[in-house]
Amino acid sequence: MRLSRRGLLRAGLAGTAATALGGLASGCAVPTGSTGRHMVLWYWDGGLGDTVLEKAKARYDRSVDLQAIKIGGYYRSKLITTMAGRAHIPDIAGLKGEDMASYLPNADQFVDLRTLGADKYRSQYLPWKWDQGIADDGTMVGFPIDCGPVAHFYQRAVFQKAGLPYEPADVSSELNTWEKFFGAGERLKKRIPGTYLLSDVNAVFENVVLQGSKRYVDKDRHFIGDQEHVRTAWDLAVEAKRRGIVSDLVTGTPDQLSAVQDGKLPSQLGASWATNDIKSGVPKTKGRWRVADMPVRPSNNGGSFLSITKACREPERAFAIITWLLDTENQAQGFVDAGLFPSTPASYGLKQLREPDPFFGGQVTMDVFGPAAQKIAVAYNSPFDVALGQPIKDEIKNVGVLGKDPKKAWSDAMSKCRRIAEHLGVSY
């Protein structure tokens, strides 16, 4: 017995040591980034076109082993922890548009793309999109993948039945202010009881804010969420609630989807990528939808970037891959693959993007999205926008869903913002 126990111990010890050594060894082999041969690219499901990546792998096969890894779950937190851990950092990293403001203050973790000759490509991309990838100190962190011009999706037959304009051109020109848009909502509700123009007040509030060039915190780290541009958006959202044109449904719930399917929610303000959400969420509505301009002016919602991390050993080669992945031709392919709306205006005229879409009754949706993408205001996005925009969005939601008094909601939002601003070191 004793002998075998000792033997067991030895075996266990040897095993432990081997594991520890193995761990050390593998830790040493790939400290940060990768060797020249490997080129690791991180993206998320639907972040890049699959066909494009396949082609890139084949194209660069002789020089590098391009490993495109689809990261599931909460992308940003995984990327941040990996970068903070300083090991196994990808060479090329996708950055989501809504997270961009939080990466830019740490521009020193990325390679400045201008040093690799990015300026040469500038003219091919949407100017406002290009600027979003540049940090305050001028470092260019992100190279534009796609963007998300917002448009007005509606169900033609329901609009027709309610006596509203129903051809895309008419909807665009007749519902071109919020006043007229809300008026249409009232008419819709009167003609077809139980029907609402929009799901919730946040659709109004957030889109009005996105239409403008200011958000919640400015470049000087000053809170501007109490100013005119937010106040206007707030008042419009409250008015939408008062006039009864928003439902009490929560976006994305089964209730909301079935209301959309039944034509009880025949309209929404959505970015170009909402096309896919509608197609997969309510497939039975095929053919009923049309797209028109949203009231006042287009806004942008979403759209991402590719970056090269400091861990990359061969930035020049990585940059060559990026610029190829995101050229006019491949951006068009990305649209076909994953519905990524190109940030290269020259793509809009290509055949793949001008296909009539049977889901939209044969409409060429690019006629709406293309011009919209080129009319978007340049906005400054602060890393503190998320923290200081959330209380306001939460409170307008309380107004919309719980029926909270708008005055009280606004003052609650402002006092919360004041507290958070103080905590984060943002001047109020």
Binding site: V250, S258, K397, K416
Partner: protein, 320 residues
């Protein structure tokens, strides 16, 4: 018997040469230490060091990527005055209470029934245990449909008995009840199995004696079974407290919105924002890792506090 003197000898030797012993002891037993080391090494790497690091982070301002800035105890100071944190504590405790007490009652009933079941015992056990090994995300998606306003099963039942629809996932109480129901459903079977194990340790002579003394089934349960089950009850309570106070996936998935909105906001009025959800929102939505770590320590203290209360309650009753 032969081993007894052999065991007694080493302490005597120890007393004679105390100075030499520690070194010798380690040399003698190093392979034993080595044998138990894997757990401690793993615990060090994935338990102790992260815990220590989270405390270190909580004393700084950090966006998760850039350089850390010393903040002293200011994160904790803000935590104490943060009404959002306290409301999330309140939400968590309410949801926990709404989930745990029905759950313990149901689990006990289930266990007693399982204990007396004659046929298909194992089938029942498996069936009751199954919810616990099902992915919370999958359950939450199903419960999202069950509690949906117009087409949910719950509202269909309410309407069948002539009651009004309730917008479960859109009202503060509805949200809490929906989350609590989900947790109850998930944990009842698990705890029933633990209770069942406890029930089976009660000697059958005691039941026989109780029956001889003329005790009915109810009296037997309260006078014999329950007192003997106290340690098991304590275990179940502590485990439910620790898991219930850290509920995260349930509200997160149940109340998540479109891809574009924060998934950690906890629904209208933040009614479903639990402590851990708030910690996630601060850390990963706001990139405020320092404050997030402070919130995590706040969560830790609340959980400890509740575990102590539970322990005292159950133990004192046991001593009476």
């Amino acid at each position: 018997m032969a081993t007894v003197p052999a065991l007694e000898k080493p302490p005597a030797a120890l007393a004679e040469t105390p100075a030499e012993q520690p070194k010798k002891g380690f040399r003698k037993y190093w392979h034993l230490y080595a044998a138990i080391s894997p757990f401690y090494l793993l615990f060090l790497a994935f338990g102790l060091i992260p815990v220590g690091f989270s405390f270190y982070v909580s004393l700084h301002r950090w966006d998760g990527l850039g350089s850390m800035e010393w903040a002293g105890l200011s994160q904790y100071q803000y935590l104490l005055s943060d009404s959002d944190f306290w409301s999330s504590v309140g939400n968590t405790i309410l949801i926990w209470a709404l989930a745990t007490f029905p759950m313990i009652f149901l689990a006990m009933v289930t266990a007693v029934m399982l204990n007396s079941a004659v046929r298909f015992k194992n089938v029942y056990r498996l069936a009751y245990f199954l919810p616990n090994v099902t992915s919370v995300v999958a359950i939450a998606i199903v419960f999202g449909s069950v509690f949906s306003t117009n087409f949910g099963l719950v509202n269909a039942l309410l309407q069948a008995v002539g009651l009004d629809q309730v917008a479960w996932l859109n009202t503060p109480w509805g949200i809490k009840i929906a989350i609590a129901t989900l947790m109850t459903w998930q944990w009842t079977g698990y705890n029933a199995i633990i209770f069942l194990a406890g029930l089976q340790t009660v000697p059958s002579e005691l039941y026989e004696a109780a029956r001889m003394d003329g005790a009915g089934p109810v009296q037997t349960f309260f006078r014999v079974t329950l007192p003997l089950m106290r340690p098991v009850l304590l275990f179940v309570l502590v485990i439910s407290t620790v898991t219930g106070l850290q509920s995260f996936s349930e509200p997160q998935v149940l109340l998540q919105n479109t891809a574009n909105e924060s998934t950690f906001s906890g629904g209208p009025g933040h009614a479903g924002r639990t402590m851990v959800l708030y910690f996630f929102q601060q850390t990963f939505d706001n990139n405020d890792f320092g404050y997030g770590a402070a919130v995590a320590w706040g969560v830790f203290l609340v959980v400890i506090l509740f575990s102590i209360i539970n322990w005292r309650l159950v133990r004192r009753r046991g001593e009476d």
